[in-house]
Subunit: 338 residues, 2 copies
């Protein structure tokens, strides 16, 4: 019999805490087979929310703490007093082997710092990256870093390529993903110094990846490459620009289709097609921290019940994926023997 996956959840993370996290667990439990939850946070609040939803006691273990990491705390400051918070405990349960994967909608910088301290980096990697999947013209693209590292040197960008390739193979079952480095033009003489240096390193032949050179912003969704690598500042802004555009596009489309009688009739007839289309474009609101000795999923801070439930489902995939061993393998083959 297949073992249940145990998800360790920071029940206090995100803008809404247990009032979103607990109903999301109930929703994910209804959709998934064989899942158990470790909920870290204020037991009274968590139990109160559990009383309102269908979530059997048998699949939940509440681990009480009254300490939390605030959403607006600076990572360095949060880290000094993070031990024993719901975020820390959620990640620590993975380290101790009590859970298979941790999920938090809390402060991104703090989650990264806590995860590094508790789980430690995989051998040969220096900094975690936040990775996400984006629907593109050929299926899905892997995009990183979407916000963990605001400043990145060339070596970090190369690490992201190594981790992103492993993620894409594990998550999207592509044998030899094509890698692109985000720049302002596909020509080789433009762009920032660290981006130029990363390009040289990836092109040197010493790193065994299918590196295809520079790509532009439009290639995040064009399907030209499978993995798009950039720093966390640019990646976060590009990702949110893309999400905002999809949302704006949806609203504009709806308003165009309801402004005239023919449009309304047409939209009604086309509704199933439109729904299928919008389901595909609405990206799962979850990202994974790569490079650690254990899987950590970040849901966005403003996540609602549906969003957080999707993050929990994503966590199940993450827990059973080979990304960590693929990444370790990538690191080994990209380092000189000796």
């Amino acid at each position: 019999m297949k073992q249940a996956v145990v998800i360790s959840v920071d029940a206090m993370g995100g803008d809404h805490g247990p009032s979103v996290v607990v109903p999301a667990c109930a929703k994910a439990f209804a959709d998934l087979d064989r899942v158990r939850f470790l909920l870290h946070g204020d037991e009274v609040q968590i139990r109160a929310e559990m009383a309102l939803v269908k979530l059997p006691d048998a699949v939940v273990e509440v681990r009480h703490t009254d300490r939390i990491v605030a959403m607006d705390e600076k990572p360095a400051q949060a880290l000094r007093r993070a031990k024993g918070t719901s975020m820390w405990n959620a990640v620590d349960a993975v380290r101790k082997g009590d859970a298979d994967v941790a999920v938090s909608a809390g402060n991104t910088g703090a989650l990264m710092a806590v995860s590094m301290l508790v789980l430690r980096m995989s051998p040969g990697l220096k900094r975690p990256a936040l990775v996400t999947s984006i629907p593109n013209a050929r299926g899905f693209a892997t995009f990183l870093d979407v916000g963990a590292n605001i400043n990145c040197d060339a070596e970090r960008l190369v690490e992201f390529a190594i981790m992103g390739e492993a993620f894409h193979r594990a998550a999207h079952a592509v044998a030899k993903p094509k890698i692109g480095l985000l720049n302002v033009g596909a020509a080789t003489m433009e762009g920032r110094e660290e981006v130029q240096r990363a390009h040289q390193l990836l092109n040197s032949g010493e790193i065994d990846l299918d590196y295809r050179g520079f790509v532009e912003g439009r290639d995040i969704v064009s399907g030209k490459v499978d993995v798009i690598v950039t720093d966390g500042f640019t990646g976060n802004i590009a990702l949110k620009a893309l999400e905002g555009t999809v949302r704006f596009f949806g609203v504009s489309l709806r308003s165009a289709l309801t402004s005239g009688r023919m449009g309304r009739l047409g939209a009604m007839l086309a509704r199933p097609s439109l729904r299928q289309f919008s389901d595909r474009l609405n990206r799962p609101p979850a990202a994974q921290l790569l490079g650690l000795n254990g899987p950590v999923v970040k849901s966005h801070g403003a996540a609602n019940v549906r969003d957080f439930a999707i993050s929990l489902c994503a966590a199940i995939d993450v827990a059973s994926s080979e990304v960590i061993s693929y990444a370790e393998h990538n690191v080994r083959r990209s380092q000189p023997a000796g």
Copy 2:
């Protein structure tokens, strides 16, 4: 009688040169009243293209040169030998007062360098910015820098706010545009050092702008602010990500709507609404260089006839706009008296 606007065109710029530029002039001439063209480049090629389209000799003056700036030349290198090229001459005609505005689809970095040298910066400004308008939930947003300055310090970002505010007032007739600074979060403690410093300067009260603080990538189209300020690396990538998403969205929508019989019928009925919607979202493929003593419009390198014609129409608006004097006024009022 209203004077004709004279557009000085780099006929050799872009991926296609005169074979796109000349038909685009004919198209713009058919749409516009009172426009004349100065075409700079290879006279034989230009005349050959003119023979194929409806473009009266009377509205065109060809100024021959056989020298061009290559699309892949480094700006510094291009600059050393730029004098007398079609790009240089196109900009120089504005300086000499022979034309009201210059348009080029050539190499962005070279166009910026040439424009700075030929036209000089407006008093009090250090570097030009490339600005564009993006449809958003409330009309249009002004977005800059979209590619002129790959590395920007805090002072440059503040200049962009000053120039962007002037542009928005001139182009979109908003009395007091709201300014936002692009960052990875709306919270104040995140983001890069230069972005933090620019935020402090804009918040200091010494610069008379309606500065609303940090905005996120999604706010480029959300309508939260009118003017979105960022560096040229991030801006270029975010803009292209947004354009790529709109294109991908359009293709996906079309394929969803043609995959089933009901969808097809619905799409047929809704066609006028859908067309109106897509016209609105297809951003004019032109951007303006701000901060110079004269207007310069940049069309994108891969522009086709329709795209370049739109850039020519945009150039007419630019030529008659108050953006330069508004920017000068902004600079004066944001500097200490004395």
